[in-house]
Amino acid sequence: MSRIKLTATLLASALYATAASAAWVPEKPVEFVVASGAGGGTDTFARTIQSIILKYKLMDAPIVVVNKGGGSGSEGFVYGSGNGADPYKVTFGTNNEYLLPLVAKMGYTADALVPVAALALDDFLIWVNAQAPYKDAKSFIEAGKKAELKMGGSQSKDTDQTLVSMIGAATGAKFTYIPFKSGGEAAVQLAGAHIDANVNNPSENIGQWKAGMVRPLCVFSPERMAQGPKVTKDMSWGDIPTCKESGVPISTYQMPRTVWLPTGVSNDAVAFYTDILKKVSEKPEWKAYIEKTSQTDRFMTGDALKSYIKQDAERATDVFKREKWMVQ
């Protein structure tokens, strides 16, 4: 009993110490702006973080989650940056924050928000129908050189179409890209063999893979994914070769899951949220989320994150210029 009391006092004083040392703490409800509709990947990302913050009481102020998924998520970024330097609006997105304004007039500019942290990297794979003749990425690319193949993906001029364009440019294979509303739709279209391949994230295709309707060919990450338990009878995520080792010369293509604040908020506020997100990323519930969605666990912040974003944006810009997608 006294021991519990002791820990409680210690904990309280520790909390007090952090609260005292932090120069900024929220004094009213914080809005989590989700740049996707309810049920989307970004929504799950934000709500997982919300539930972990609530469970461990990492923040005293209440959290209100608002979904703003219109216009491929641009609605969320417009809303998140629209109220000046308001530290009570935390926006959740992917790399779409800095890629969307490049391809269409969006009502916000990429530098209207500052990155706080990236918590995970979502991988991309080449998937084909299980009945398709291609056994590996190489034979798939060869087929693409002989006849045009149909590739499906989520949204237009977004990450999926960019990757398809990069594969085409790097290998000389020809693809027709068909945009669907979501990765889930592209997954079903592939399972029904209406398209030849898609480049979905692991969580978007895992159900069809488990059921033996689709098959992964390779993953666009520098090394193989974490081994984990077997997904099908004889394969786990770690058994999928990287695209580089199977002859597709693109070593990395990943999508960061990012958290943003409006430009101009105080450094203290950025530090406050960085600290909370860092704590979130260390909790077992976070690890469970990463494993469930088969993402890569990677916490990035500060300059490392900024240079990552710069690199990512530059590479995409090359593709956008080649495809003439850049907005005038």
Binding site: E27, K28, E31, V64, V65, V66, T176
Partner: protein, 166 residues
């Protein structure tokens, strides 16, 4: 044109007015669609294809309505709105308009209270305390249902910011 007494708007003029308005909408849609290609490209219709023809159809059909108006409603002197009806509509519409305009600045909670209070006391002839209690009750119910229970925030203004609940 000789109006029957008390007529504010005739049916004919409203038919013409609305048809011109929808025609204008059609023209705007057509104009907006030309920003992107309106043709039929290699991969089917271009982004502006559908909006362009939709706009065109709106304009054509509006012209049809206009012609019909001239054919059937011109000489019938049907009444669209009498003076008294117009008066009633304005009494209803203007406070509603003010409510929306006020909510842009003051947020929904404050402006809905002002709106309810105003309409109830001035038009409904309720006593101020009674109206006030209805306003406060509404605000409390909405606040708990939306903000606390379902956690969907309503538009807020300076008062809420001052109270630090937003």
């Amino acid at each position: 044109m000789q109006n029957p007494s008390g007529t504010l708007l005739s049916r004919f003029s409203m038919e013409v007015g609305v048809a011109c308005f929808t025609g204008l909408l059609g023209a705007i849609v057509c104009y907006g669609s030309t920003e992107f290609g309106t043709g039929w490209g290699d991969a089917g219709p271009e982004p502006g294809y559908f909006p362009f023809y939709i706009g065109l159809f709106i304009m054509l059909a509006s012209a049809g309505v206009l012609v019909q108006a001239f054919l059937t409603h011109r000489d019938r002197q049907e009444v669209f709105l009498t003076r008294e009806q117009g008066h009633r509509i304005l009494l209803f519409f203007l406070p509603m308009f003010a409510f929306v305009a006020a909510s842009m600045v003051l947020g929904l909670y404050v402006s809905l209270a002002l709106y309810l209070f105003g309409v109830m006391t001035i038009q409904g002839k309720y006593s101020a305390p009674k109206a006030l209690s209805v306003c406060l009750g509404t605000i409390v119910v909405f606040y708990f249902v939306f903000e606390k229970w379902f956690q969907v925030p309503l538009l807020k203004g300076p008062l809420e910011a001052w109270l630090k609940i937003y």
